[in-house]
Symmetry: C2
Subunit: 358 residues, 2 copies
Amino acid sequence: MKTLNVALGARSYPIMIGGQAMHQREALAHAIQGKTVLIVTNDMVGPLYAGALKTTLEQLNKTVYVHELPTGEQFKNLETLNTIFDALLSNQCDRRTTIVALGGGVVGDMAGFAAASYMRGVPFIQVPTTLLSQVDSSVGGKTGINHSLGKNMIGAFYQPQLVLADLNSLNTLAQNELAAGMAEVIKHGAIYDAVFFEWLEQNITQLMAKDPQALTHAIVRSCEIKSEVVAQDEREGGLRAILNFGHTFGHAIESGMGYGAWLHGEAVGVGMILAADLSVRMGLLEADKAARIKVLVGAAGLPTEPPKLGVDAMIALMQTDKKNDAGQIKFVLLNGLGGHMIQSVPEQILRDTLAVCA
Amino acid sequence: MKTLNVALGARSYPIMIGGQAMHQREALAHAIQGKTVLIVTNDMVGPLYAGALKTTLEQLNKTVYVHELPTGEQFKNLETLNTIFDALLSNQCDRRTTIVALGGGVVGDMAGFAAASYMRGVPFIQVPTTLLSQVDSSVGGKTGINHSLGKNMIGAFYQPQLVLADLNSLNTLAQNELAAGMAEVIKHGAIYDAVFFEWLEQNITQLMAKDPQALTHAIVRSCEIKSEVVAQDEREGGLRAILNFGHTFGHAIESGMGYGAWLHGEAVGVGMILAADLSVRMGLLEADKAARIKVLVGAAGLPTEPPKLGVDAMIALMQTDKKNDAGQIKFVLLNGLGGHMIQSVPEQILRDTLAVCA
């Protein structure tokens, strides 16, 4: 079991990474102060893991309720969120109740926002069961839901008391979901750590075969990088924006294709290829480095070509992205492999990069 | 114009109190960094003040949208909240958009929670137009909405950039609404400042006649007291609980009568009388002090007798209040006039106090 500390002052918390992480009793006993726990999960993950987690918590003398959400991003909305509040209130959960998110990013985002909002904030533990949620949403405190007019438009920054990234839960993960998580792992290498990027190039086969040792290193290093970035910029005023590498293009693809048609990680994978191409055109990155990113994304089993949404449509979609500041699109570019830079770009250069979407 | 600073470190903000406070251009220009403003108001207050406020903001070169909510506590729910998000998104408001709450507590609570949640937090300015919201919700950062199973169950602690308490807006305030606000003013004196309580006894006639000088002093001193308490306990872990004096009984009355039947301040007024009686029975307060509280509540035009909800029903209602810690009802009691103490009480003594509800 590896333990990593996310250093956020009074809001610091540990991430434990390894097989059976979700059954770490001492960590759970320490993190849960009250008597009552609500496990929020979905109807795919719940049947696999909620029973065993409930038993572990009951052995710690907790009263445990389980609330299953319908599975899928299309349910990440106010109505589904309200079912969590229904469950909390009908079980008379008080402000010392801990909410445990058991599932992937959608469950974590919704359970986290419920925890941030219920009685203006109750304790929260994350048990991410996908690679994506283990390397991405388990660090950073972003929670939220979608609105019909935009993704993740409603939410809160809210830190958990504890994150338990259980490697065993990846055994049941579909290969395309593993690949989607790997996109964020690759991203962390690309923007921050060229050595880690090279390690990923050398180990991508083992990683995609779910080799536990390789996965542990990839998850630990990803969480370390994200923690370092978030610790410097908890509420996303500056440095943290580099974590959006590939996301401006990626969100446009997700939105343009209709949410759910592409996995988030798939869209981010192609988004990174586009952002790397843009970095080359801006003179910030050598072409062979951009080519290596494309190869690694492909080796992770991710798409490497954007959908043909059209150049104008892509630009319009990017302009509605919430990362924009007063209408100006800012891009996270690679300033060499392992380096980063945030800036706007001349429209013609952007159009050249987007020509592959035509 | 009086200005008061609420000291909360990086989240500190000024409260300006006086006639025409909502047109303080320098303060508005300083507090609003972005180009876009959404005024959230209701269909009673909006027609009276939104036009003039919009003009003032436009003169500061802001693009101003106005969103009117239906008036009333029964609309303080997720559905109405979502209409604020609709307005923000359909006007392409970004994360630099400032939300201005123009109205009473319901508008402030909903607009504040929308500001806390939209894109995980946008700037927020409060323009409270009722006495209650000027002395209560303008300090403390509590925002939120109701759930069908409980009041204020969903929300956030979120501090505004600026509060403008405009005395002129009280000119259109109904007398029972003025009285409801006075309940919280009386509360601040009772729990924290016996000298202020005496001043209120001497000036209650002028206050209820809306004398501007008297009102200014009452609002300033109330905000000062609440600020001092909140500054010591921003997220309601300890001292801040004293602000719930009268509220455990009050919430039970509101809930038992059906929300909206009694104004919050009316229920709190009677709640303070009950809490003072309980303090006397617990040997913490002299009977003549409790009598003075009852007289002052009555002089403010507030009811002084609880509704006949029944003793058992009142106890059951209080047990579901979110202030409870693991099922135990804690009461804020007066430890002498101007002093406070939080504790649970023997059930029989509570029943003796509640006998007037039978």
